[in-house]
Symmetry: D2
Subunit: 347 residues, 4 copies
């Protein structure tokens, strides 16, 4: 019973079937194949407008390549201080942008607030030519804290950066989970709210390894083809990546997978927060549960064979549980029951 | 009947089956999984020594990441003037190395000769501090011309660069084809001949999308883990990449696939060179056939539905035919027959 | 009466005389000249050990080039959150290091404290391979707040980073002012306390434009020659830069210039802090005075023709006054008198 | 008697006097000073149009920064195979552009011919997305072979690149020598012929250390301020660099200095080519003489105390003599006389 991450899960059968089906005959290499074309069509339907979309191998590549289209080397990319691009990509955005600076902003529950953003732009990165020039804002949806930005929150941040000529990126490695939670049209939390480029994740939600960089700003897309090749992200047998994305997007699978994962997380949160000495660290809106347990309960759960991440950055007893597209409800109930037993025993 | 490239072919069933089999239960992400461990064991057996090996997504990534461990930013990487890293990777080695310079060397049939190498190192890149410092030599095996370096040829080049503290890289996107042709132990054309790092290709020879960077010099491997993550090449669900490599390496599949492709290319070459007004441009040693045909024959073959690459760099009438692990012998005979008919008709 | 910065001052006559004297006959270009050799000898005397030293054009270049020898592209450089390298060099360290990340640390009066450093290394940059790897710590001496690190403070920080294989850089654009204030041997606040590389400033203290990168760790110096050329910092007529440094270092001029500047700053601080409604923002230890004045006093001083920097980052009424090697004591007294008159008038 | 290079010469008295005169009072730092403003005015007069101009420290910095405004990281910069940017800047253009590729072109007497340029653009760098994208052409004026491009030659090359959206750079480290030789208006060999950005050298022609990057395309200038700061090329006491440029440009000094140097080179060439067994390697049009002498004559001249560069790239006996703004005519005559004596003695 493994809640370490959504990336310890395997692939969804429907997605794997699509890969198997794609293995037929020869196909033009490097993305000029029908699977890749259909991915763009499906994304256009989902986002209710024409888009340019490019498959890449990993979320880190999607983010770093997207950001590289949005900033000069002397630019600054503003992001939440816990953003994956800042903390967990070993400097990939710096590499792909040629050395732009990531500027962390504080904010509760993983969200950047307008005041912190405005303050940084007015007091520090105010265009002084001795300083890096603010070029982009990157939002994570769902956030690193498992919460979601509402359309109006995104629009408020977009308004601040627009007036300064900045671009807006969304790290959507868990975009499906956010869309499922919010229940709004995908357009409402992307281009209609001001997003220029979206890293649209599939790997964490049932693909083998496939992400799409989706451009709502066609001008930014112009250089992407060269940047992707140069970054070693242009697959020769692209059909096997695009087939994953096609199956993921078709028939609303991306949303139904996310709804399941979110429901499992919600059930975990609901069950755990009723226990004594247990506190949720953030509201549970997507598929992640951040919770503080008594230390002996953490030990007891590990000894019982449950697997999860100890979240030491948040202090002793903090853990993270992540549900996936295929999380077994029985595992969820077993976890809650074990935690209940351990908390009552310890009391 | 499609001879455009080995990457228009699909995946070998045994490799796809391994991917399907890997989709079972949860697995630790980011490479700490049993499939990845077994890939290193298999490579150690094949190369008759301990190695470090890291899966990546594409051949371009394998090459650029390998080279990044071998050169400072002010270094030079010497390679053949037609090398993929120089001509066909959109500047990936420059990006991954932080701006090192690729220095092209001439040489017949795709091979660098010792004189051209020595001349460049003695006359131009001789350590002058105003110039880039020679850091690495990259050989392509099989070469871009479809030929192979023999062990003694590699050793002779290695001797020249060793005395200058340079490292030696092999771009082995078609390493299997070279090993199959030469019929020597893989160690003989790699570390025993002086190679430090090998880009070991699988995609062109039956995988969906998987390459391994193989380090014979363990010191060079030390930074790789960070470089790979930073480059967006660390897959979260790594098992699906490593499972491909495991199946490819197991039971000698990599060699048997390559032997088939080579045999198909040899048959094409043999059949074509007997025809009037047809000339092979290079010896056919691996799975590529470069040949010059009369222009009307080229047109006739295209009209008949055969697909292949027009190789305009080599002048009018030059074409490239590539055989894959699954090339149908009937397609080969059909091509030869069609060419025979067209050449005799035109004569 | 201009207190905006020490770089609005001109050049010291003794330094300009040395430039004039260097304009005699031909000289080997690119640093292989006797002036450059003598600079290294003088620095060895000052630091009581053999050093390697390289002149460059600006403080930004000195810092960025020094840091480039200390970190891989996937490394982190820890520094104070107000450090010049982080805030005021438009991303130069990121450019010269190939994209390393600058990680800001908090600390009062411009100094990094051991707890903040240890906390970052233990909780965040703890070697996790998904994160940048801590490679260097950069200290500013004198700090951005005009204060100085004592030898024991440097040694305490050095001990923390040494155990982790990190290197230690000192941004000494005002190194002379710190040395003059502390009254210790230069060795005590550099290599004996653990510093590996020093950016030794001269421009702010009487040179026309000359800084030296001083290596106490000879291994780090090995690549510098190439990095400097590649960065466009290798002057062909180097004698005119080295002659400045020679004159600056000879006869203790660097220290006597700094003592004068420090004394002028101390006098300003002493005079101002006796006034009502005036508060020093930091202890005045080098040649900078950060002080908060009533807003009407700030206006009055500007109207009276005094020039200084409004330090808005520190809130309304904050200003910075900088004294130089040639600051006129009469200007200092005039400033104090004007401030006294304005504060009493306003009271 | 030292003919090694024009950068072994000192500074012109008029230029040094301007530096001395600039050392008066305080001045706004970082280029917002009257000297810098006057440099732009003088350049506008010389080029008969509005320009943006930025002083930097070295020719390498001028070239690399200029090129960085003209190419994306995935771009190619075409240049002569002997260009300083390609051979002698230790990879500076690669560093400043974030890894663009320099593509060498052949051409007699240091000049790129239209056929080699067109061939490269049509056959190799033809926009294929797997290859770097042609972004700029860089011409050296005067060339590395001491020859000059005529206005029509530049315009012919410009026409080829314009149609492809490429930009045109001129490395003018010896621009004055070229302008003096050609006797045309500076505009004729720059913007009127299609040049977008000029690296305008002063150091080799009498300055201490000062070059200007001159933009004829104002759009390209927009990012320069940030790039220069980020590269450590923004001098705080800029007046001391700008004062050099002002003196250099005023009263036609740049041209009169160059005329003297050219005349000295012409006299050397004239005297030497009359000698037996002596051959000029290139026409002498600027201030450099490339000549092949018998080996014993080379030895004899060195033994007699003459200093010059042995030009081994051009084979045994090849040497380079460079005249400067202050070359003594007596030294020239002495050299010719010594060579004459040695050649006749040996005969």
């Amino acid at each position: 019973m493994d809640f370490r991450s959504d990336n310890v899960a395997g692939a969804a059968p429907a997605i794997l079937d699509a890969v198997i089906a794609a293995n037929h005959g020869t196909a033009t290499s490097y993305g000029a194949d029908p699977w890749s074309a259909r991915v763009e069509v499906l994304l256009a339907e989902i986002f209710e407008r024409k888009v340019r979309a490019f498959p890449v191998a990993t979320g880190t590549a999607a983010n770093a390549l997207a950001l590289a289209t949005m900033t000069p080397a002397y630019g600054a990319i503003l992001c939440h201080e816990e953003a994956h691009i800042h903390l967990d990509e070993c400097g990939a955005p710096e590499m792909f942008t040629g050395g732009a600076k990531l500027v962390p902003l504080p904010g509760g529950d993983g969200r950047i607030g307008p005041d912190a953003l405005r303050d940084m732009l007015e007091r520090t990165l105010n265009g002084d030519s001795h300083r890096v020039q603010p070029a982009a804002l990157s939002l994570t949806q769902a956030t690193e804290a498992g919460t979601c930005y509402h359309p109006a929150e995104i629009a408020a941040l977009a308004e601040i950066v627009r007036g300064r000529g900045m671009k807006l990126h969304m790290d959507g490695s868990r975009f499906a989970n956010a869309a499922a939670h919010l229940g709004v049209a995908p357009a409402e939390i992307t281009w209609r709210a001001g997003i220029d480029v979206l890293s649209f994740g599939a790997t964490k939600n049932g693909a083998l390894g496939a992400e799409a960089v989706v451009f709502f700003d066609p001008g930014l897309a112009e250089t992407f083809e060269f940047r992707r090749k140069r970054a070693g992200q242009l697959f020769s047998k692209m059909r096997f990546v695009s087939a994953q994305l096609e199956a993921y997007l078709a028939q609303g699978r991306w949303l139904s997978f996310a709804r399941h994962a979110n429901a499992m997380a919600a059930r975990l949160a609901d069950g755990l927060q009723r226990l004594p000495r247990v506190a949720l660290l953030h509201p549970v809106e997507a598929n992640e549960v951040f919770v503080r347990l008594p230390l002996d309960v953490v030990s007891g759960l590990l000894e019982a064979g449950f697997r999860f991440a100890e979240w030491t950055d948040a202090g002793p007893g903090a853990i993270r549980l992540v549900a996936a597209f295929n999380t077994d409800p029985g595992h969820v109930e077993a976890f809650i029951a074990a935690a209940a037993k351990l908390t009552s025993a310890a009391a």
